[in-house]
């Protein structure tokens, strides 16, 4: 309920985007680079020509109205579109100095380095909390109990879940609340120690308090992992992200990148009038 107050008060959201470390982070090389990335399904383009850099240890948000291709773009970053036969990704996506579609890195290995959190919490219902957290490690062939335990504890601590579940790691994931389940999914992704964490509207199915906890978590996780988040919620983008990409559906219904830059700039002083329209339209 208190969130409504925030939502009605744009200045409070746009103002406090100050980030001490961000100046340092910009000096590090980008964690990911997108060059002219397009995604099409059955020959119909869904996102076109996106080019931007994702800075290490920062939160980059993808915003834009529905249909602008935010999620489509996000899912191209860990090659989830490989599952869809009709999907085709063009352009270049670099993870460090590896072209992820170049063939040198198998998709399964890529996905162990780029974690993902989905819209709805999707813990594996047949596994215990512990098994959920270490599932990624086990998939990747890691069997050493000590390493599994260490990674699980570290991930659960980072996901702010350790205190509440450390005594019942054998319980099923489904016994947790929705917000806890989503944090379990974050822990599950973190346990593999990915370099990048993709978050696809991670709070869209959660209540305001759980949402707030996850947002706090994102800011805390920055020193551990680079985060790319898709969100419908402008305030959320303003609160948690350092950089922001604004996408919009073009005339042929394909999403296009309109503007990319530091979140403060996008929200306070956008260069493109369409960005301004969108931001003002939402706020005003």
């Amino acid at each position: 309920m208190s969130m409504t107050q925030d939502e009605l008060n744009p200045t409070r959201d746009t103002e406090p985007i100050t980030n001490g470390q961000s100046a340092v982070s910009t000096l590090t090389p980008p964690a990911m680079r997108l060059e002219n990335v397009s995604v099409s399904f059955n020959g119909r383009t869904a996102v076109r020509d996106c080019t931007f850099n994702v800075a290490s240890n920062r939160v980059t948000s993808l915003i834009g109205p529905s249909g602008s291709g935010k999620t489509t773009l996000l899912r191209s970053l860990n090659r989830l579109h490989d599952l869809t036969r009709s999907a085709k990704v063009e352009g270049k996506i670099m993870l460090g100095d590896i072209d992820i579609y170049g063939g040198s890195l198998p998709p399964t290995l890529l996905r162990s380095r780029i974690g993902m959190v989905f819209q709805r919490p999707n813990p594996f219902p047949t596994m215990s909390i512990y098994d959920n957290v270490v599932s990624g490690l086990r998939f990747n062939g890691i069997k050493k109990k000590a390493l599994l335990d260490e990674a699980a504890e570290s991930a659960l601590i980072s996901a702010a879940l350790w205190d509440s579940v450390s005594s019942r790691l054998k319980a099923h994931g489904s016994t947790l609340s929705g917000g806890e389940q989503q944090r379990l999914c974050i822990a599950r992704a973190l346990a593999v120690e990915p370099e990048i964490l993709l978050m696809d509207e991670p709070t869209s199915s959660l209540d305001p308090i759980s949402t707030q906890r996850i947002e706090e978590l994102m800011v805390e996780l920055k020193n551990r992992v680079t985060i790319i988040i898709v969100t419908h919620n402008m305030q959320q983008a303003a609160r948690v992200s350092d950089d922001c990409a604004f996408l919009l559906m073009g005339e042929d219904r394909a999403g296009e990148l309109i503007e990319f830059g530091p979140t403060t700039k996008i929200f306070n002083d956008p260069s493109d009038p369409r960005t301004l329209d969108y931001i003002q339209g939402r706020f005003g």
Binding site: L80, F118, T126
Partner: protein, 323 residues
């Protein structure tokens, strides 16, 4: 929500319980009565059915008692009515049939859902369903004239050489017997297992699959560690349903099992199941033998009804879990 309440209202309306606007119409009584009469007739028929089989077997139970279940010799000519050999053969053929059909059926379901290109899915599914349309007696004929020679000259010698003539592939072979019956049964229950398991596997939410893949799982890891465990209740339902079918299958088994009621010594043994014995002996039976066959029918009814009830519970629970 609105749909729910409107449907409740409709039900109340249709029962004439809402009063007021739609008072119970007198002439609707006919409808009310007729749908209940239909149900009643069938209910009564079921009661008669159960009673008939109980009653038919009554004299067998009173004269032989528990010996019918535990006796090891079934020989009408000497008035020995011990169903143990038949019960064993029924259980063994069903178990072996499941052993063959379950992995093949699950693999088939997984292939159809996760590996076939979209345009092949429907035709291949229809082909597998076609297996269910072939009548039992045709499978019997096929077993008799196609499989018996093949078993006799190829499969049985090969299996025997694998175990060195040891259990369970020991003894004389002639093609007929428990093994052939099991293979024919496995073909017959395959479509059941595929149909049900396909439904429950397809009902596993896509988010779970993407969740596993996004952690770096390979496709087969995803299927084995996430999809199959999650569908397990429904898969058990499918297996139970298949078991129910195999336990009661009659004609095809009667044609290939060798009709020789004996305690099986190996999978090559000839034998007779509960249902195949009823089929082959009923025509010439009278008196005590007819009563004993009634007892077999009762045993068969109890086993298959419990198995089917279990299958129903499992599949319903599985499909509701995902709804």
């Amino acid at each position: 929500m609105t749909e729910e309440s409107s449907s409740t209202k409709t039900r109340l309306l249709s029962r004439g319980l809402t009063g007021g606007i739609h008072p119970p119409v007198k002439s609707d009584l006919g409808y009310w009565l007729s749908i209940r009469a239909g149900a009643l007739i069938f209910g009564a028929a079921i009661v008669l059915f159960v009673w008939s089989i109980l009653h038919q077997s009554l004299s067998a139970w009173t004269s032989h008692g528990i010996h019918i279940l535990t006796g090891t010799v079934w020989s009408p000519s000497t008035s020995n009515y011990g169903a143990l050999p038949l019960i064993l053969a029924t259980l063994i053929t069903t178990a072996v049939a499941l052993l063959v059909a379950v992995p093949i059926g699950l693999g088939t379901s997984l292939t159809i859902i996760f590996f076939l290109p979209q345009r092949l899915k429907t035709p291949i599914t229809s082909l597998v369903e076609l297996l269910a349309a072939v009548p039992s007696v045709v499978y019997g004929l096929w077993g008799l004239f196609v499989l018996v020679p093949w078993m006799n000259t190829t499969i049985e010698p090969k299996l025997a050489s694998i175990t060195g003539g040891g259990f369970p592939f020991n003894g004389a072979t002639n093609g007929f017997g428990l093994l052939l019956a099991s293979i024919v049964l496995s073909v017959m229950i395959l479509p059941t297992i595929v149909a049900i398991s396909r439904d429950v596997i397809a009902a596993v939410p896509h988010e779970q699959i993407e969740g596993a893949l996004s952690l770096g799982a390979t496709k087969s890891q995803t299927l084995l560690k996430v999809v199959l465990p999650e569908a397990r209740t429904g898969i058990f339902g499918a297996i139970t349903l298949g078991a129910g079918r195999a336990l009661g299958e009659t004609i095809a088994v009667a044609m290939v099992i060798g009709s020789n009621p004996q305690i099986p010594k190996s999978l090559f043994s000839t034998g007779a199941t509960l249902s195949s014995t009823i089929a082959t002996e009923f025509g010439e039976a009278s008196g005590a033998q007819l009563a004993a066959l009634g007892a077999l029918a009762l045993i068969l009814m109890v086993i298959t009804a419990s198995v089917n009830a279990g299958a129903r519970t499992l599949t319903r629970r599985a499909l509701r879990g995902h709804a």
